[in-house]
């Protein structure tokens, strides 16, 4: 089980391969990767603020909860903070299980909780100014199903 909160970029593919290799015998690997998206071509960049200390605690709690609910042989969370450019990878999660349904459910659970319960805040910088990304009601609602 690995949690990394870092300013520097990570290599999604290399992390996915390393995770799959170390989860020998798992059978089913699921990964999620979030990319800085530029919906209308005006995004210049993004700044991610976080709460050092609480971030790691929150991610550990979320991951422990996922492990208690599903049969996982391994899990990985990497989340960046600081300045990011459009197209850069913000974060990834990976889950490994003998059963694909567990790997999928756990990865989606980790994402849902990470979105609304881990202390990260995104600020977008566009051609016309900058502003904090507002939390989506759909993200809060997504927690209710678990």
């Amino acid at each position: 089980m690995t949690i990394r909160v870092q300013a520097q970029p990570f290599d999604y593919g290399a992390e996915s391969n390393a995770f799959a290799r170390s989860s020998d015998g798992a059978g089913a690997i699921v990964t999620f990767c979030g990319v800085v998206r530029d919906n209308d071509g005006t995004l210049r960049g993004m700044e991610i603020e976080h709460y050092p200390g609480m971030t790691e605690r929150a991610l550990s709690t979320i991951e422990a909860e996922a492990r208690s609910r599903w049969s996982l042989s391994d899990a990985l969370i990497i989340h960046r903070h600081g300045a990011l450019n459009p197209g850069e990878m913000i974060m990834m999660v990976a889950t490994a299980s003998r059963h694909r349904a567990d790997a999928f459910a756990a990865a989606e659970f980790l994402m849902d909780y990470l979105k609304s319960r881990a202390p990260f805040w995104k600020k977008e910088r566009t051609a016309t100014g900058e502003g904090w990304v507002e939390a989506r009601e759909a993200d809060e609602d997504a927690l209710k199903r678990w």
Partner: protein
């Protein structure tokens, strides 16, 4: 009691500092917020709508009616937008 208060995202920007130390006898988070609001306009402005604010005590998410007894670190921030 002495509390460290942390502010993140637009709360940090509106109040103009990332952290401060306060002396308070506030019993709950809500009491502390009332004290802060009474201090200066920027606090009143920042805490005008608590529906847009979340609070953590010693790095655990909680509610505004949570007691402050034994707490060392209070953090105020908007709903989280990670992922």
């Amino acid at each position: 009691m002495t509390l460290t208060i942390l502010y993140f995202a637009w709360l940090r920007e509106r109040i103009g500092l990332p952290r401060e130390t306060v002396q308070t006898e506030a019993a709950t988070v809500a009491d502390l917020v009332d004290e802060l609001r009474a201090r200066e306009e920027r606090y009143a402005f920042t805490f005008a709508d608590l529906k847009a604010v979340r609070v953590a005590l010693d790095q655990e998410l909680t509610d505004f009616d949570a007691p402050l007894a034994g707490v060392r670190e209070v953090a105020f921030f908007p709903p989280m937008t990670g992922g």
